[in-house]
Subunit: 243 residues, 2 copies
Amino acid sequence: MGTLAIAGLGPGDEALVTPEVSAALAAATDIVGYAAYVARVRPRDGLTLHPSDNRVELQRASEALQLASEGRQVVVVSSGDPGVFAMASAVFEALELQPQWAKLDIRVLPGVTAMLAAAARAGAPLGHDFCAINLSDNLKPWPLIEKRLRLAAEADFAIAIYNPRSSSRPEAFGRALDILNRAGCGERIVIFARAVSAPDERIETVRLCESRPEMADMRTLVIVGNSATRRVGRWVYAPRHAR
Amino acid sequence: MGTLAIAGLGPGDEALVTPEVSAALAAATDIVGYAAYVARVRPRDGLTLHPSDNRVELQRASEALQLASEGRQVVVVSSGDPGVFAMASAVFEALELQPQWAKLDIRVLPGVTAMLAAAARAGAPLGHDFCAINLSDNLKPWPLIEKRLRLAAEADFAIAIYNPRSSSRPEAFGRALDILNRAGCGERIVIFARAVSAPDERIETVRLCESRPEMADMRTLVIVGNSATRRVGRWVYAPRHAR
């Protein structure tokens, strides 16, 4: 009987991979995922790696379900957490298209998503109510993103911005900064967390009004603090109180 | 030289504790935290446990900083992730009050926060833009929570609700359901995830209009899907597309 685990590898450092995910990788016969994430799994005898290009999520998900239906022990790998802007939604979408796979043994294995790792490095910017918005998703119309940014500013959420500078929509982040500036967030503290937990990690914090689009690249997670977010020494945190 | 690590133990299952956190616990001389979380750390020679009551976060944080300043290897433990409605903000708040501790070696060690574990059990309800709102926080005025719920509904975020039925504010969740019903979210799918990853875990999914306050208790994390969130078999997921 085949199985399918949809697993999160965390932000990069092996010390942030959960034992549950490590056990699933150790028991797998097949690893399916975007090439950069499959490359994080150590090759061994009896393990077949199936790396694929970016932006073929549904095809990749169907491949994984097909392998599991043939009796393989399949792990679909994502960076971070598989349920946050990653492969889990695509697998369930593929499952809906192919009802014959409905009885497969499927598990989702959570991981440390990028915003949690970035927040930990910076201090505690997500210590109060917050939201997470993906700028890269080309399956979502821009006016909806704009509306969400405006409402998030009005709600005074801290805002984690995933994929601020994706190749599909490189201009999005500059437009997002404009919207937040116009919404009165200019004095808010912004954290640019690049390559968190990797050797070339870089954390930068500035005011929103000083933020420039080129401060983020494809490996950056951005956290916009709420209106009360403050510094203490090198740390940035959201106070537990709010008015 | 003392050190202070602010660590997340994940939702409960040991297989969800990161190796980074396990290593910090193994090297610690002192564990500080709410009694229920300190009880998850295995006692051993050379390790002093400092359990405390709920709602003394700032005092607990100061105690931890004091111990570190005396040269101890201190780990402050939280459930889930320490930066999400947990101890990290309190430690930085305490640090701000006591500038003499500014040079301490402090690290925040991320963990799998409850909403990620709950989402993984249910499918992928956080696969699209979402927010996280804490209903229990008695340091936040109710009108602000109400405003955030209304704006989150308008933004069509999935909404992770932490501490829906805390002892300090048991009526909050019923009021939150009323607000979301009035905001037109009655048909949305709601996940009640109780004691995720513990032996008595229970996952229940219903429409918002069918949700009742008593479906949540103090160990429940609630996720309200967005307007497109759907079921496939026993799973619930947010499609990657949005209009």
